[in-house]
Every structure is written in C-alpha cells, then in structure tokens.
C-alpha cells in the first residue's frame, strides 16, 4: 500500500464512520419528522432524543475530519469539488447548522409553538442534508466535477440521474440505520410498543433502501458507465457484501436480534461507501484527476499519517468510553427537567 493509498484509506474510513454514525443521527431526524402528533409520536421523539443526544456532536466531527483530510491531502480535488458543487455544499452546510442548533435547543424551548418549529426544522434539515450530500457524491462519482475553480455546471453537476439516485439512497440508508439503532436502544429500555414501532420502520426502510440500491444500479449503468464497470468489476465483492449484510440484517430485525442487527446494518452501509471508492479507483475525480495526481507532496502525507496515528491513540479509547457509557444507558437524565 502506497503512502497515498494509506491517506486515502483514512479519508474513506472517516467517511464510512460519518455515514454509519452521523447518518443514523440524520435518520433519527427523518423519523422525528414522521413521528406524527399524539402521545405515541411524543414517546418516539423522546426516545430519539435520549439516543442521539449524547453522541451526535462526536459523530458530526467525522465530517470535519474528512473535509480536513481532503483539503490537506488532495487540495486540488477539494477546491474543484467545493466550487463546482457549491450549491449542494452550501445547502448541506445550512442543513447542518439548522439541524444541530434546532436539536440542541429542543429540550429548552418548552412545549409551545417554538418547540413544534424546532422539531420541524430538525426533521426537515435531517432529510435535506443527507440528500444534498448524496447528490454531491453522485456528481463526483458520475464524473461531473472537472478540475478548476467552479469549472463544472453549477446545477447539472448535482441534479442528474446518478445524483438523484445517490441522494435518495442516502436518505433511505440514514432512515434504515436509525430505525435499527433505535430499535436496539429502546429494546434495552423495555418499552415493547416503541421497540415494535422502530422494528417495523427498520424493516420498511431496509426494504426501500434495498430496492433503491438495486434499481439505482440501472440508473448508474445508463448515466455513469465507468462507475457501473467499477461496481460490477473490482468493487463487486463489496456490492455483494452489502447485499448479504443488508438481507441478514433484515432477518435479524425480523427475529428481534437487534444487538447484532446494529452491526449488520453498519456493515451493509459501510460496504456501499467502500464499494464506491473501490469502483472509482484509480480516479479521484473520474475522467479528470487520478488519486496519485491529486495527492499532496510526501512530507504533508507523512505528517498526516503520523498526526492521525498519534491522534487516534488518544481518540479511540475516548470514543470507546463514550459509546460504552451511551450504549449502557449511563448518559441519561435522572432528574426530570434538570438535564439536557
């Protein structure tokens, strides 16, 4: 594995972590949007907040990590992507700021109209953000981002068949991950109705995501041939892994084995992200820029690897502690009205 490959692997690892962890937080927003009025909906929203509250900020940082790695290790590609895809990226940024702040404000705005507004803003921006990010990825993957300062088409680069497919798939995957994780989290609490509600949603979202993924391959075949060649060639093992893991997860959810289903869902989604990267190799911007040509100089890459290694030595134990506390349900309020 070359130095460049190692750094690219870090970018993909960060992106995978973002999709699998923060994706579920976006999906939780989707379910909040769909939760409906009445006590049932309120219970569901409360469960969502208990689950997402302690972890969403840490999950979000994976995106920062990916952006920073990208502009340090592949600066030319970063400039090209952000300037051509300025509209979806701006929308994603707005979605992120609205979603994060609406979520953080929610426990403190009481139950009036402002609370309803916050909930709606949280929900809508949780759908918008993964959609535009997916659409941007679709633009990159289908070779619509040329090198240069806003050299590509500002609209068609992200409003095209592949982009719309990836955007929709992103929303479906987020909803699917969230429903599986929420079923697992609520199963610990013992509220049967809530568990069943999220179980049904996990099954539905999983089915939708699966159908979308298969149908989308047809879109990719006609719209982005090189990507199709990659997905059915070098990336085929990943595509198969994703399908198998997805189907296995549905079976596990069906049999209420939520703990393992959580892992299965994460594997299915990770395989899609990694499969995309493998399918695109050796290009970073298909038809425009190879990974090798895009890479920063050797000293920068070496510094990044050393820095990331050192950082990871501190980060990983900390993350493990956070998730152990969160998954054991230790990070919850015990005094009503007192805690966030």
């Amino acid at each position: 594995m070359s130095l460049v490959d190692a750094v690219l692997a870090l970018v993909i690892a960060g992106l995978t972590a973002y999709v699998v962890l923060a994706g579920a937080d976006f999906g939780a927003g989707f379910w909040e949007l769909m939760s409906g009025p009445g006590p049932k909906g309120a219970q569901m929203r409360a469960a969502i907040h208990r689950s997402v509250g302690p972890v969403w900020e840490a999950n979000h940082v994976w995106l920062i990590f990916v952006l920073v790695l990208l502009w340090t290790a592949f600066p030319v590609a970063f400039g090209a992507i952000m300037s051509t895809l300025a509209i979806p990226m701006f929308l994603a940024a707005m979605g992120i700021i609205l979603r994060g702040s609406a979520f953080a404000f929610q426990p403190h705005v009481g139950t009036g109209r402002l609370a309803g507004l916050m909930s709606a803003v949280f929900g809508i921006s949780s759908v918008l953000t993964p959609f535009v990010m997916g659409a941007a990825i679709g633009g990159i993957a289908s070779g619509r981002v040329p090198v240069g300062n806003a050299a590509g088409d500002p609209w068609r680069s992200w409003l095209n068949p592949t982009s719309l497919f990836v955007g929709a798939l992103a929303v479906a995957l987020c909803a699917y991950l969230a429903a599986v994780y929420l079923a697992a989290d609520t199963a610990r609490g013992g509220d049967r109705d809530l568990v069943e509600a999220f179980r049904r949603r996990a099954l539905a979202a999983g089915a939708v995501a699966g159908v979308l993924a298969v149908g989308g391959l047809a879109v990719v075949r006609s719209d982005a041939e090189h990507l199709w060649v990659g997905l059915t060639g070098a990336a085929l093992p990943m595509v198969i892994l994703s399908g198998v893991a997805g189907a296995a997860t549905l079976a596990l959810v069906w049999r209420r084995r939520f703990g393992i289903a959580r892992i299965g869902a994460a594997v299915a989604v990770s395989a899609i992200v990694i499969g995309w990267a493998v399918a695109q190799r050796p290009d970073l911007l298909p038809g425009e820029l190879t990974i090798a040509d895009a890479a920063a100089g050797r000293p920068t890459l070496v510094a990044l690897l050393i820095g990331t290694g050192t950082g990871a030595a501190v980060l990983i134990p900390s993350l493990v502690w956070l998730f152990r506390l969160a998954l054991r349900g230790e990070l919850v309020k015990s005094e009503p009205g007192e805690m966030p």
């Binding site: 979000h60 940082v61 290790a73 400039g79 701006f90 940024a93 403190h108 920063a296 100089g297 920068t300």
Partner: protein, 470 residues
C-alpha cells in the same frame, strides 16, 4: 462597506468601460469577504465559550469537591447545561467555516491546503475529544463518581485550548507564510512542522486565550450583575457573580501586557499592518501616536497627537524608526480607516475593562469586600458586550489589516475567491439564518436563566454521592 475592499480591486473597478463581468467578480469578492466575516464573527464568540467556559464550570465543581458546599454544585450543573447548548451551536457554526474554505476560497485551499492543512487535521482530533468529553461530562452528572466526573471535564478544557492553538496556527501562517517554497509559482518542499509553528502563532494564541477568558468571565458576571442590581444577592448569586468576575479581572490587566507583545510582533513581521493600525503614512523616527481622528490623504485629521509615543510602543525606544504605509505600493496596503478604527476600539475597550478590573481588585485588596457603587455593577453588566466588541474589533484589525492578501505577500484575496455564482445570495441566506439563530440562542439562554438557581432539598455532599454511586 467598500472600505473593506482591497484597494487594488477598488482601483481596478474605476476605469470607464469596465465589463459587467468585472463588476460581478468584484461584487462576489465583497460578498465572499462579508460572508467570511459574518460567519467568523458569529463563531468566535462561541469559541470563547468553548475554550474558557469549561474551565469556569470545573472551578465551580472543584470548589464543590473541596468544600462539599452544594451551592457550587448547583451553579456548575446549571452552567454545564448552558455550556452544552453553546457548544452545539459552536460545533455547527464552526462547520460552516470549514465548508467556506472550499465554498468561498477554493483556490486558496487548492493551492495551499497541503501546507496549512496539517494543523487542521490536529485540530480535528482536539475537536473530537472536546465533543466526546463534553457529552460524557454534561450527561454524566448523576452516573459518574464525582471525582471521575470532574476528571472527565479536564480533557474538555485541554482540547479547547489545543484546538484553538491549531486553528490560530493556520491564521498565524496566513500572516507569516513559512514552511514551503514556491518553485515556478507552485508549492514545493512543504515542511508541515515549520508551517505549524510559525512565529505569529504564540502571541496570537496567548492573546486569544486571554480574550476568551475575558469574554466568558465578563459576560457571565454581567448576567449575574444584572440580578445583583435587582437585589438578588443571596449566596448562590453572589458566588455565581464573584467567581467569573474575579477570573476576568485577573486576566484583563495581563491582556494589556500581552497586547504590547503582539503589537511589537506585528511591527517586526508585518510593518505595513502596524502602519495601518496607526495611520502612519511616512516612515519616520520618533513617530507620534494619534488618538481618534480619521485617515485621509495620507494623514490623520482631527486626532490627538502624542509625540514619540508610537516609536516608544512599537520599538520600546522613543526615537525608534517605524516604517510607514509608504513602504508598500498603494495596491498592497490595507484599507487604513477600517483597520485603524478597529484597532483603537479594541485598545480603548481593553483599557476600559482593565480599569474596571483595577477598581474591583483594589477594593478587594484594601477593603476585603465587593464594590458598593451601583455604577460599578452597571459597568460590569456592560463589560460583557464590551468584551465581545473588543474581540470583534481585534479580529477585524488583524484580518482586514492583512488585506489585500489572503496569504501575506504570496496570494491576494482576489486571486483566491470562488468563481461560482450566487455568493451574494449565500450571504443574504446566511445573514438571515444567523440573525434567527442568534435570537433563538439568546431566547433559550434567557429561558434557562428563569429557572431559579436554588439548592435542591436532598442535595448530596460529595462524600455521600461517591459512596452512593461507588
């Protein structure tokens, strides 16, 4: 508004027959710079709370652990909830800034990302740790043992400082670009550590850290000073007022010394910027300092001139030589009035805050009590907004003072800007969003403060709490 333009671009737009495209480009540059300034101004206040507020909360919790007095615990818990909300808004407004590296300045990032980016990678880890431990800390009040809980807060303070160090390293690098060579206009021989630890880093870091403690200390004290003036003077309010005020008042006088250090660093590494601080046109020895006034046609109109003071401040020699604006070509100079007025505002407010601190510390030292004058407490109420104004003015000084360069003497801001259309639309959308966000944030803070601060009847002492959970 047009004062904020790099003068090179402003003069470019003057000749008749300019093309529509040139006007659009210029509008986009102005809009991009205002977007950056807006995003930054919003975020930097929250940065202060991310850097300094956790320390304040930990001081309170530490006092509780030492004394077992529940007053400290009640305050620490309340503040930690405020800290979490402000951190969340800071997380997302900081994300906007990282998007803007590509959305507004793609050519800057495309060309120099490999030089300055390493610092941001390290900052990413610091930010990660801060997010992890702030969650454990705020959500863990009831489940972690008191000592463990306190220790879980320490990485929040450390990571906040480290994150700020790495971001300021990039800002320092933009002012003092080192750690690379330009070979035929292309970046080569990158030396990431040299770029990271540039000479501008240390004074900026100390100056900004102290500023963060001043902002948080004065803003927090200001909130409780308002309660104080409304005769809520029980012990709990007194503690919540005195601790942040004491911290801010200890820091404010030190900031003057650090400011002098920062000014001399600028004098040696960016003389044109210093000349813009002071509106000094001509290079001269025994340079005077002008208070107030307006820079026009190469001199200060309506200012109060103090002979030799500028030389004394900049070189610590009353007859020292201070380079003027004339050392740079007109198109390489920053817009003097914006820089100079911001600088004077920062110095003026900083001096005022130090004077306020002097009164507080003097009364405490001589009389062992708090000042009694209503006017003192009114001034404390105002000190919070004043500290934020000083913070904004300071950043305007250094950022506009660097213009027309994005990378000092290497790349112009106009060369870095995006060619994407619609930057002004983005600015308007962002402005509306930030106004709404700022309003809701303040509303939420106010609503949180309406729940009275009081000790719950069954508040456990630390010893009992640790026995309970252990």
């Amino acid at each position: 508004m047009f004062e904020l333009l790099p003068s090179g671009v402003a003069s470019m737009a003057l000749p008749l027959g300019r093309s529509v495209r040139a006007i659009v480009e210029q509008t986009d540059l102005v809009a991009a710079r205002q977007t950056q300034a807006l995003s930054f101004a919003f975020h930097i206040v929250l940065v202060c709370f991310g850097v300094a507020f956790p320390a304040l909360v930990l001081v309170m919790e530490g006092l509780w652990l030492r004394t077992g007095d529940p007053v400290y615990r009640v305050i620490a818990r309340r503040w930690s909830r405020v800290m979490l909300v402000l951190f969340a808004v800071g997380v997302v407004s900081g994300t906007i800034l990282s998007f803007e590296f590509g959305l507004l300045w793609p050519r800057f990032t495309a060309r120099f990302g490999e030089v300055f980016g390493f610092a941001f990678a390290l900052e990413g880890f610091a930010f990660f740790l801060e997010a992890i431990f702030i969650a454990i800390y705020v959500y863990g009040w009831d489940r972690l043992r008191p000592r463990t809980h306190f220790l879980a807060g320490l990485p929040v303070v450390g990571a906040g400082l480290a994150g700020s160090l790495f971001v300021l390293s990039v800002n320092g690098w933009m002012n003092n670009p080192t750690g690379f060579d330009l070979v035929d206009g292309k970046v080569a021989n990158v030396r990431p550590l040299e770029a990271l630890f540039n000479v501008q880093l240390w004074h900026t870091f100390v100056h900004m850290t102290l500023a963060a403690y001043m902002v948080v200390g004065f803003v927090t004290a200001g909130v409780y000073a308002l309660a104080w003036l409304r005769s809520r003077r029980d012990r709990i309010h007194r503690v919540a007022l005195v601790v942040p005020l004491t911290i801010a008042c200890l820091v404010a006088p030190v900031q003057i010394v650090v400011g002098d250090w920062a000014g001399r660093q600028v004098a040696s590494s960016q003389p044109v910027k210093l000349a813009a601080f002071e509106g000094l046109q001509r290079t001269q020895t025994g340079a005077p300092l002008n208070l107030l006034g307006w820079y026009r046609d190469g001199r200060i109109v309506g200012g109060i001139e103090i002979p030799h003071l500028l030389s004394l401040l900049a070189t610590h020699d009353p007859n020292g030589r201070v380079p003027g604006l004339d050392t740079a070509a007109p198109e390489d100079r920053p817009p003097v009035n914006v820089v100079r007025i911001s600088f004077q505002l920062m110095v003026g407010l900083g001096t005022g805050l130090a004077a306020l601190s002097g009164i507080y510390l003097w009364v405490w030292w001589r009389r062992r009590r708090l000042p009694r004058s209503v006017w003192f407490w009114r001034a404390v109420v105002v000190s919070g907004p004043a500290a934020i104004m000083a913070l904004w003015a300071g950043w305007t000084t250094t950022e506009v003072g660097r213009q027309p360069w994005i990378v000092y003497r290497v790349m112009r801001t106009s060369e870095a800007v995006t060619a994407a259309e619609g930057v002004p639309i983005g600015l308007i959308v962002l402005l509306v969003t930030y106004l709404a966000l700022g309003a809701v944030t303040l509303w939420v803070m106010r609503r949180m403060s309406r729940t009275p601060l009081q000790i719950p009847p069954d508040a456990p002492p630390p010893a009992a709490a640790s026995a309970e959970s252990g």
